[in-house]
Subunit: 384 residues, 2 copies
């Protein structure tokens, strides 16, 4: 195990009917920006619950934060936060709204000339407006971590930043808020969380059995509950278990002291930025191809995964690796998630622009830093 520092002060309020606890979590004198997306929270009753819980507070609303939240939208919100002298930003929605809120919180206090530098130049974030979250879509783990991803349409960029300044003060996770999600969003969320675990697990062994077994436990849970949610979309326990697994998948814990990969995410972000393919779907397409390409380097861990997560019994390492890759693809397909470029009507040649972008940035991806643009090109061929 490598040395590590772990610090995660997010207060998680988990369970049925917990939105009502908002007023105990934000002090009464705060002026709140209520940030949300396209209005689904108005249809499923979450908006009403939040407004009800915030009676007596001064609240300004900012709606219209879409998937792959845009820099321009965030900067419009920054103006509102400044003009209205907002003290606290409450994100109500999924990971996209929360990622936008994290960026808005940091950009408001940013001292440099251009907050975009936070994303392109890792400009230092010295402080941020305090923020909290009511989560309605389990997937990104943003509710309990320091990360956010922001996009810019005009340049086709999708970039991440990370800072302890943007930890939510609290996150309310009420699984009932997820009942009204379209099936596609639920299964995308399961795949997203699954791949988050993999980015921290499917690397090489550094003798970290606690982290490995926690990761395997999350994978098994996502497999079982992911399949159940297709059959029983209104089952509270299933929703609750997916929600908690997705949070634990990317709150930093399972990634402490181990090698991490993230090549799949970096490559997937390019496909989303260029072709607007759902984030989770890009991951399901790219990850199996990364594994095929890195088969030798990841072989031992792929075999461990096959045996411990999929109960593959063979003693043959090659067979175990084959099973690991195929069972993962089969699992994604069982959730009606595409697993090849062909499934989303793309060819490897269509991805040349993505390769170019990664070449320009001098990408050296993966836990060993050996996946550069040339290898990404080969990975797209394997994903055909």
């Amino acid at each position: 195990m490598r040395n590590f520092e772990y610090y995660n002060p997010v207060k998680i309020v988990f369970g049925k009917g917990t939105i009502g606890e908002l007023s105990g979590l934000i002090s009464k004198d705060k002026k709140i920006l209520l940030a949300y997306g396209g209005g689904s929270i108005k249809k499923n009753g979450v908006y009403d619950q939040v407004i009800d819980a915030l009676k007596g507070y001064s609240v300004v609303e900012f709606a219209g934060i879409g998937p792959n939240p845009q820099y321009d939208t965030c900067m419009r919100a920054v103006k509102v936060v400044k003009d209205e002298k907002i003290d606290f930003i409450l994100s109500v929605g999924g990971g996209s709204v929360l990622d936008a809120v994290k960026f808005i919180a940091a950009a408001t206090m940013f001292e440099g000339p251009e907050p975009w530098d936070i994303l392109t130049k890792s400009a230092e974030i010295k402080s941020a407006v305090p923020l909290g979250c009511v989560l309605t879509l389990p997937a990104t783990g943003s509710e309990m971590n320091t990360n956010a991803v922001i996009s810019r349409k005009e340049t086709g960029e999708k970039l991440a930043f990370s800072s302890q300044q943007v930890y939510p003060v609290f996150s309310i996770l009420d699984p009932e808020t997820t009942y009204s999600l379209p099936v596609k969003q639920v299964t995308n969320g399961v795949v997203d969380a699954y791949v988050h675990v993999m980015e921290q697990y499917m690397t090489y062994d550094v003798n970290s059995p606690v982290q490995d077994r926690f990761a395997e436990g999350l994978l098994k849970t996502l497999i079982e509950e992911g399949q159940k949610v297709m059959q029983e979309p209104q089952n509270y326990e299933v929703r609750a278990n997916i929600m908690w697994a997705a949070t634990m998948a990317l709150n930093g814990l399972i990634g402490q002291g181990v090698e991490q990969d993230w090549a799949t995410h970096m490559i997937g972000h390019e496909l989303t930025a260029l072709y607007n393919i759902d984030h989770a779907r890009t991951l399901a397409i790219v990850m199996p191809a990364v594994w095929k390409h890195q088969r030798e380097s990841k072989g031992a861990k792929l075999a461990q995964y096959a045996r411990r997560v999929w109960d593959v019994q063979t003693s043959d390492e090659d067979e175990a690796v084959d099973a690991a890759i195929q069972k993962t693809i089969d699992f994604f397909r069982s959730l009606d998630v595409p697993t090849t470029l062909g499934d989303v009507d793309l060819t490897p040649a269509d991805c040349a622009k993505a390769v170019e972008q990664l070449r320009e940035r001098g990408a050296k991806l993966g836990e060993r830093g050996v996946i550069s643009a040339k290898e990404v090109e080969e990975i797209f061929v394997l994903a055909a």
Copy 2:
């Protein structure tokens, strides 16, 4: 899964050579009480490392905090903290020193007439002196939780309290500090952590697969690494894995949203208070007897544990339960830890005083609250 709230802001600094980071964790203007135990840290070099890291700070020392830390000792330290106007208390040692420091931190700021009320009457802790920890013995989990246990010799009491006010600001976990521990303390620590997991796991099913699998992962790790540490006491990776598993065993995470037991601890505390038997050893004696007594109520989970942790293959539930109990006893014995009252030269009749104490307090132990003094008497017979 039950509703829950989880909040754990302890900063963990984990790994080789991390004691040197102390000066980055406490601001320079703080006056520090350096609290430790019987002097083993002076023999193994930890004291020197700490003193070296604290150059430039104003430091007052308080030594002599023993196992099962005593109320009187703590109250002497409270006087020092007040007289010396201490701003920060640094615990250097195992769980006993840290538990004492937590109590000292709370008792110093306690507004009532008698800090003992914190333990007997759950008197409210409104604030505490900030505290941090350099851990030298993995076992209690105190380094990342809100709990502490304090004893009082004159009354034969050993009582616990819990408050978010006594979360350590940071805990430094350097596995190398554990090399010099006597084998008995290492194996006691493994058993203590193992039983901590069990108190949160071996109850009844509330459909919480993430928590179950995390618990099972910790148990498997403690079994494997616990056996390795007997063979290879100077293996860094083994020490590191035990240390991290022990922290995760009782930092609150695996206990969120599930039923908890703690009967074994409550009964074990009585044996320690009366007969001065090591805490972990009381647990290893009591827990199998609790399981035998609660066999019906815990049957399904015992069988799950047998299958998932010990790879027991039988489809017969009774056989699986038998195996669960026997394999646990065998594991403890493989660590040279006693598992019966006879092993520590006691009979069930010798435990009458413990039963009496629990009767006086109106004990209703276990996840269903059905273990009262009468049942404890039966449990002692099963532990004979």
